[in-house]
């Protein structure tokens, strides 16, 4: 069955389905019960599943993650909501020191099937700490899987995959696209979670992005099509592992690669893609790999964020520079 819904409600539907399928799935986070979360992603779930399965937590992020580990050891599958991206850092130690490493530490004896949902990225005019993109920080740590949907359909399926995974999954939700509507087919899942998808085919340049910038990347491709250049757009979807094969195959056809993300360029996922794709496709490249992203500054006050966030023009600028080589 296919229906149209906003991305946030697709996550709600995915959570609901996962909770119906498995009584061990529990949700925990700040304000997720009666309020349904500050973005209403868990709206109605506490009413239907009760306070034991949709838990309003004390305001302590490390505590939320740490107690979720304990619940996972007890046999539950906790799904955590971190209220905003930059509120995750009090929990950083529990995530990288415990969540990521317990499976390895116990020689594979203990699985930690915890999902950490993180609304991330800017563009919503919020105060400091509400607009960051820390996904690369977590992808850097072995033991975590990191994924980010860009469409309602993917959001519905990928949240369920994340919950079913026996590994811990960081689930980054593109918050400024929460209200973007899309078709969700609840029968046909489409591409596997840890694969990248070519969302628009092209022959002249490969533009890779994920999460909130995928719609922008598609706009870039449309703009270039008007000028007679064919841009191929890849939605990465999975940030750990990264499906380098799909990107490599594309670049070997187009000879050019531009990577765009909201996160800072320095030591970001674009850098990793540039290095790996250069290694794999050196003789196919017609231009150096270019990156577009945030600056090496704290996320700016919202009146300046339009300068910080890569937009249509900044990505077009990089695309033009690449094509000019």
């Amino acid at each position: 069955m296919t229906s149209t819904m906003p991305l946030s409600k697709a996550i709600t539907a995915g959570l609901r389905k996962a909770m119906e399928d498995d009584p061990k799935v529990v949700l925990i986070g700040e304000d997720i019960g009666k309020l349904g979360g500050v973005f209403r992603v868990t709206e109605g779930l506490q009413k239907d599943f009760g306070e034991q399965r949709v838990i309003d937590a004390p305001l302590a992020e490390s505590g939320i993650v740490g107690t979720s580990i304990g619940m996972a050891i007890r046999g539950f599958r906790p799904v955590i909501e971190i209220q905003f991206d930059a509120f995750i850092f009090p929990a950083y130690d529990q995530i990288v020191t415990q969540v990521a490493k317990l499976h390895a530490r116990t020689g594979g004896n203990e699985k930690i099937p915890v999902v950490i949902r993180v609304p991330y990225g800017g563009g919503i005019g919020s105060p400091e700490h509400h607009s960051e993109s820390p996904e690369a920080v977590f992808a850097h740590h072995a033991g975590l899987r990191v994924i980010s949907p860009s469409t309602a359909h993917d959001a519905y399926w990928m949240i369920q995959d994340a919950i079913r995974s026996d590994d811990p999954v960081m689930f980054f939700e593109p918050k400024r696209r929460y209200w973007m509507k899309g078709d969700v087919d609840t029968d046909e899942r489409g591409a596997a979670t840890h694969s990248a998808q070519v969302v628009r085919e092209g022959t002249d340049l490969t533009l890779v992005s994920y999460g909130p910038l995928v719609p922008t990347a598609l706009d870039v491709a449309n703009a270039k099509a008007d000028e007679g250049a064919n841009v191929e757009v890849i939605d990465l979807r999975s940030l750990s592992p990264i499906d380098f094969d799909t990107v490599e195959q594309s670049v070997k056809r187009t000879g050019r690669l531009v990577v765009a993300h909201e996160a800072p360029v320095f030591l970001g996922l674009g850098a990793e893609l540039a290095a790996r794709i250069t290694e794999r496709s050196f003789y196919h490249l017609e231009a150096p790999v270019l990156r577009v992203g945030g600056f090496h500054t704290p996320y700016p006050p919202s009146k300046l964020e339009e300068h910080y966030l890569p937009d249509l023009d900044r990505i077009l600028d990089a695309v033009d520079r690449s094509l000019a080589y």
Partner: protein, 382 residues
């Protein structure tokens, strides 16, 4: 801040009130009110069992120390002096309870059936924690102090969600135990663990072994108030017990575990004890504490006091000698097992990073193993 006046004021507040004790350092049995009922359940054989436990784990500890000095272990964290604090707790628990330890819980590990060679393996660098936590309901050692307290709180919340508390069935009702020390008590995660357990009334026993020293820092640097009071603001009552008195640690842990099991909510125990050895084999306590202090605590040795009591109860020299002989045998066994441990194969590094395949892990493993294989011919020719 470091003036004598301030240090004196701190010491006074630290001293705290009454501490539950049932055996004096001289081995005399003293009454302890409500806790006597738990001691009364134990006959001489049971107490002799505790004695055996303590002698054997002290021997494990001595082996760990010696093996490190011989270069067989990279490091060892001695438990010397904390045997009663750990054996009393461990023997008070039931099979279905789940313990979350730090890295010095060799005595609790013993009571949960963890073979000491597993502990040696960690400090030798064979693994980060080889046992299956579910098999013995004893979690892996936690080195970042305090983290495990949250895991215990969450596990306790899980017990609640399963309805395995307060049913009246003692084989079903379960508790989670958070072991931590005076140093860890300053970590935010410990306070958050108390917050969650308190707010959800989760069946968690917070068991703080105050061994007076966090490496070189005395407990007075962590807190000006006695640690047994730490839970008060979180709605978690606490009690201080003589951590060098195995009868008292057992009785207080039993009483607390029974109460938590019955659904009365979390409790905190401060076991007042002493780290007689160094923090680890890399530490030198002579730099920060006096011989007088160590000697004063040596006079409160947990094994000596129980032995004195048991001698008065008629346990014979032969029976004590038999425990020593058993310790010798065990020491020989674990020493041999330790020395024989071969380094794990390189591929082991990648085996358990994820439980399901991960492309990058597979790629890096294959590339490195192929690199290693490229030396095979060279070695054959050499």
């Amino acid at each position: 801040m470091t003036s004598e006046i301030s240090a004196g004021a701190r010491a006074k507040r630290q001293a705290g009130p009454h501490m539950i004790q049932m055996l004096t350092p001289e081995g005399e049995r003293v009454s302890s009110g409500e806790y006597d009922v738990f001691a009364a359940e134990l006959d001489t054989q049971d107490l002799f069992g505790f004695y055996r436990d303590m002698v054997l784990v002290r021997r494990v500890d001595a082996e760990g120390q010696a093996l490190q000095r011989q270069g067989q272990l990279g490091l060892w964290a001695p438990l010397l002096g904390q045997e009663a604090a750990q054996i009393g707790l461990g023997r008070a628990l039931r099979k279905q309870d789940f313990v979350f330890p730090t890295y010095r819980e060799h005595g609790v590990a013993w009571t949960r059936g963890i073979d000491p060679t597993e502990l040696l393996g960690i400090f030798r660098g064979q693994s980060h924690g080889g046992w299956d936590p579910q098999a013995n309901r004893f979690h892996t050692y936690t080195i970042v102090i305090g983290s495990q307290v949250l895991h215990a709180a969450g596990y306790g919340m899980g017990i609640q969600m399963d309805g395995d508390v307060g049913t009246g069935d003692i084989d079903r009702d379960s508790i989670a135990v958070a072991c931590f020390g005076d140093g860890a008590s300053s970590q935010g995660d410990v306070s958050e663990g108390l917050t969650f357990a308190g707010a959800f009334n989760a069946p968690v026993l917070f068991y703080c072994q105050n061994n007076q020293w966090a490496i070189s820092e005395p407990t007075s640097i962590q807190t000006p108030t006695p640690l047994y009071q730490r839970g008060k603001g979180f709605g978690i009552p606490g009690i201080r017990v003589d951590g060098n008195d195995v009868l008292a640690t057992y009785a207080v842990a039993r009483a607390s575990a029974d109460s938590i099991r019955a659904g009365n909510g979390p409790l905190l125990i401060e076991a007042f004890t002493y780290r007689m050895g160094a923090h680890t084999t890399a530490d030198d306590p002579s730099k920060y504490r006096s011989d007088a202090e160590t000697e004063a605590w040596a006079a409160k040795d947990p094994i000596v006091r129980l032995r004195r009591y048991l001698e008065n109860q008629g346990v014979t020299a032969d029976e004590f000698a038999a425990v020593d002989a058993e310790a010798d045998q065990m020491a020989a066994r674990i020493r041999a097992a330790c020395v024989e441990m071969a380094p794990p194969p390189p591929a082991e590094m990648w085996t358990h990073v994820y439980s399901e395949p991960h492309a990058l892990v597979d790629e890096e493993r294959d590339a490195y193993l192929a690199y290693l294989d490229s030396f095979a011919d060279v070695e054959e020719h050499a």
